[in-house]
């Protein structure tokens, strides 16, 4: 049986959606557990995945299926990376906005599965906001569609948005259609570095008061030094006015990859937007050596060598603001002790009931909480 081959090899790399369907159907029939990977770059953030029997890597499904620059929509296979996609889009003056972790190497499927967003969501929305439709292989091997290819759509349930951030627990996202954006006429990346928290906070607050133009606001804290990164998009005169008003100098863009490489632990506090910079000051754990604040996005990423006590402290900060602590990379004993999300979300029971309906045999990974 073909399934034996997958199990023996542990990993398979289908080259068509039909092949992907067949593998999943075989696994369903024989009750083998599968894990869907893009390139597997962030598998550490989903520890449940490693317990699965078969890894299905989608990196060979990497074609742009349909690109309509005048309609500003694109349909892709989900193994395509963000760099590959933007390479195609840029040729026609368009781009897919994402500037969070894995901004160059993430596959589209991986991006959707993680549900991550970057700082530019304040102007362009998160990937979930720009997702128009998907095709998904369900645990029983059925290929289903949700959404469509037009920019506005309320036909049926928004299952496609439900799949975003589900860490591959409900099915394998095979194809996706997105709204894309015109490459801005001018885009400037500027900022300032200081160890004066008050100065950084004041500049951030001023920047956030702009009603448009400011496309991303990110504060990178390393020990006691803060760097405010600001992306300004728009026409020449508008961009220049903002840069001058905020007194920004040219800066290197934030390098997420380098941050992830030099740290052994990574957690994210999600909270209401607009209070991130104040909450940052409440993170006083000595082993948190770096933090990235996504201004106006309700997210603080913290890095370092984060232990049990620090997790408790960080979870208390999140709880104080009715938010959550998401543990993305940590020692196994910490994950065993806390789970992935602290506290578990109140909608978990409802999500679990959908999981049981979609995946009655538990073929796909358990919910990543």
């Amino acid at each position: 049986m073909v399934i034996e081959e997958y199990i023996n090899n542990k990993k398979t790399r289908p080259t068509s959606v039909g092949a992907l369907q067949q593998i999943i159907k075989d696994a369903f029939d024989t009750e083998h557990r599968v894990a869907i990977l893009g390139k597997g770059a962030y598998i550490f953030a989903a520890p449940k995945l490693v317990e699965q029997d078969i890894f299905i890597e989608l990196s060979a499904l990497n074609r742009v299926l349909e690109f309509n620059p005048d309609d500003m929509t694109v349909t892709v296979e989900c193994g395509i990376t963000l760099d590959q996609l933007n390479g195609v889009l840029n040729e026609k003056g368009k781009w897919f906005p994402y500037d969070g972790p894995g901004e160059h190497v993430h596959t589209i499927g991986g991006l959707l599965a993680t549900g991550w967003a970057g700082g530019c969501r304040i102007r362009y929305g998160a990937p979930r906001d720009n997702l128009l439709g998907i095709k998904v292989v369900l645990p029983n091997g059925d290929l289903i569609s949700s959404g469509g290819k037009v920019v506005k759509n309320v036909s049926g349930y928004d299952l496609h948005r439900f799949f975003v951030g589900s860490w591959g627990s409900f099915g394998a996202i095979a194809q996706a259609t997105f709204k894309v954006y015109p490459v801005p006429k001018n885009s400037v990346h500027g900022g300032l570095t200081s160890d004066d928290y008050g100065l950084i906070k004041a500049r951030l607050k001023k920047a956030i008061s702009y009603t448009s133009g400011v496309a991303a606001l990110v504060v990178h804290k390393v020990k006691d030094t803060y760097t405010l990164h600001i992306r300004v998009d728009g026409t020449y005169l508008a961009v220049n006015r903002v840069i001058k008003d905020l007194d920004l100098v040219e800066l290197q863009e934030l390098d997420w990859n380098a941050i992830l490489q030099r740290n052994s632990s990574w957690v994210k506090i999600v909270l209401l937007p607009g209070i991130e910079i104040e909450v940052l000051q409440e993170i006083s754990c000595p082993t948190v050596t770096e933090a990235v604040v996504l201004g106006g996005c309700g997210a603080i990423h913290a890095f370092g060598d984060i232990g049990h006590e620090e997790i408790v402290a960080l979870a208390n900060v999140a709880k104080k603001y009715s938010g959550y602590l998401e543990i993305l990379h940590a020692r196994p004993e910490i994950l065993n002790s806390f789970g992935r999300i602290v506290p578990p979300p109140s909608g978990l029971e409802l999500i679990s009931s959908i999981k049981k309906t979609f995946d009655p045999k538990g073929i796909f990974p358990e919910l990543c909480v």
């Binding site: 005048d70 309609d71 967003a117 929305g125 998160a126 979930r128 369900l138 290929l143 289903i144 949700s146 469509g148 037009v150 920019v151 506005k152 759509n153 309320v154 036909s155 049926g156 349930y157 928004d158 299952l159 948005r161 439900f162 799949f163 975003v164 951030g165 589900s166 015109p182 006429k185 008061s209 009603t211 448009s212 133009g213 728009g234 026409t235 005169l237 508008a238 006015r241 903002v242 999600v270 909270l271 209401l272 937007p273 607009g274 209070i275 996005c297 309700g298 603001y321 009715s322 959550y324 998401e326 999300i341 979300p345 909608g347 978990l348 029971e349 409802l350 999500i351 959908i354 909480v369």
Partner: protein, 488 residues
């Protein structure tokens, strides 16, 4: 042993009495003449509920929902009844849960740019409250003076300015909901909450999963500068070309609305909004943002309009002039009542480059069925709103209109479009679902419905094709059974 009719009657009396005891008789409507008011929404669908409950609190909602479960009867939430797809129509009777008395704005927080509201808050009331802090709620349906935020969430409503800002789902951070068993849950609550996928699923689910009792919305800062442009074109084709070229140029206006000659004349006769009476079509374009950018973009839009045949282009010089232009647009459907007493409206969406072809086809369909068609729509999104104008008192006319509507929907689907951009599927478009979704697609949606509402008591009969469960390809279970039930 009771015969069926007697059993039904007894249960009905029991249910109404139980609801009166649970939430007070002053919050219950059960007289036939009053119930008739709740038979309709803004669509052509109609069905009288057995009882209307007007909860004043979360506790009231929980009590009513528990009674509904106890007796196995459906619950249909209703905001202001402005919906256009029959979503709030109690097709199978049961309880209409009318949210008029849950309309408090509980909190507006300018720091986090959020507000928490009860579902019965009217969209424009929220706009007024937010504006005090220099903020606004982006979804702005034309019915915003009457429609509720709860209804906006249920239908995932849009509006003219959603071209730039996105639709309701992009601006909701969390909801409080009541399940069929009376359990209360908060879903979402912060940006990127671990259950935000579930939140996305709830928004636009047309009340078919649970009853939403509180909503946390994300507000945006009011723009620094706004420029509004009116352009008159000789015909709808040239206006459509101007739309396609505006979007292709890389400019995303805040709004880009089109009205055809039938609509323009009705608006002018009604509102004197300053639209060119002789135009074959007009475009209303608006750019918002930083002053320098807006001025540059509106000048470019003006140039594109002229290049594609605009015989007049006029920019609003004052806030009053701008407000009048928008009053014309937002009152357009009401103005069409001067032509015929009834309208039938579809809101399919097409790729924007297909607008000229599809509008020609809509015109051809109108002529074939000898029906006046008035187009007033969100052109920048490709979101059509062809209004088929008719008089329902003319014998057989409704059937003609429905058939014409089917042809329009098929024309939309044939170019890769979808059934609805913002009005929802409801009763009106459910039979068209197989045009865009396979059996497996619909089955997957029904699996979610079954997981969240296993007794199928929440707004039954909406979204799914009526005969779908008879195809034999679905699991039997409880899917759709409430819709077929004879509870009383």
């Amino acid at each position: 042993m009771l015969v069926e009719g007697e059993r039904k009657f007894m249960n009905r009396t029991h249910v109404i009495e139980a609801i009166k005891q649970a939430i007070g008789k002053e919050n219950v409507i059960d007289s036939p003449e009053d119930l008739a008011i709740y038979a309709r929404d803004g669509s052509i669908e109609s069905s009288i509920p057995d009882v209307v409950a007007l909860p004043r609190s979360l506790d009231h909602v929980v009590r009513v929902v528990k009674i509904a479960k106890q007796y196995g009867i459906p619950v249909v939430p209703r905001g202001s009844g402005t919906g256009l797809s029959g979503g709030a129509v109690t097709e199978y009777g049961g309880i209409c849960l009318q949210f008029t008395r849950m309309r408090k704005i509980l909190k507006v927080d300018p720091v986090t740019r959020t507000a928490i509201v009860e579902p019965g808050v009217v969209n424009s009331e929220l706009q007024t409250a937010a504006a005090r802090y220099g903020l606004f709620f982006a979804p702005d349906p034309s019915s915003q003076k009457a429609c509720t935020v709860g209804g906006n969430v249920a239908e995932n409503a849009g509006g003219p300015h959603c071209l730039y800002y996105g639709v309701t789902t992009n601006h909701i951070l969390g909801v409080e909901l009541v399940r069929d068993n009376g359990e209360v849950h908060w879903v979402g609550g912060v940006q990127d909450a671990p259950d935000s996928g579930l939140l996305s699923l709830l928004i636009g689910s047309e009340g078919t999963f649970a009853i939403i009792t509180k909503i946390m919305v994300h507000l945006l800062p009011l723009p620094e500068h706004v420029a509004t442009l009116l352009a008159g074109f000789p015909d709808i084709e040239s206006a459509s070309e101007a739309v396609s070229h505006t979007i292709a140029s890389g400019i995303i206006p805040a709004a880009l609305e089109m009205m055809d000659s039938v609509t323009v004349r009705a608006i002018e006769d009604c509102y004197h909004a300053g639209y060119p009476y002789e135009a074959g079509a007009v475009l209303l374009a608006e750019c918002e943002g930083l002053k320098e950018q807006v001025e540059e973009e509106i000048a470019e839009v003006e140039q594109i309009m002229k290049q594609h045949g605009a015989f007049m282009v006029r920019r609003a010089k004052t806030d009053e002039e701008r407000a009048l232009l928008w009053a014309g647009r937002k009152g357009a459907i009401g103005a069409l009542g001067r032509i015929k007493p009834n309208y039938y409206l579809h809101d399919g969406v097409v790729p924007r480059t297909k607008l000229p072809d599809v509008l020609k086809e809509v015109e051809r369909i109108g002529k074939y069925f000898n029906l006046p068609v008035a187009n007033v729509f969100h052109a920048g999104d490709g979101n059509l709103h062809p209004n088929l104008l008719f008089d329902i008192r003319e014998k057989g006319m409704l059937d003609v209109v429905l058939e014409a509507g089917q042809h329009i929907i098929k024309a939309v689907v044939n170019v890769g479009g979808t059934l609805s951009g913002e009005h929802g599927i409801g009763i009106e478009k459910r039979e068209f679902m197989p045009l865009i979704f396979s059996v497996d697609d619909i089955k997957a949606m029904q699996m979610v419905k079954q997981a969240l509402d296993p007794l199928a008591l929440m707004n039954p009969g909406k979204i799914f094709p009526t005969h779908f469960s008879e195809t034999g390809r679905l699991p039997s279970g409880r899917i759709g059974t409430a819709a077929e039930a004879t509870w009383w």
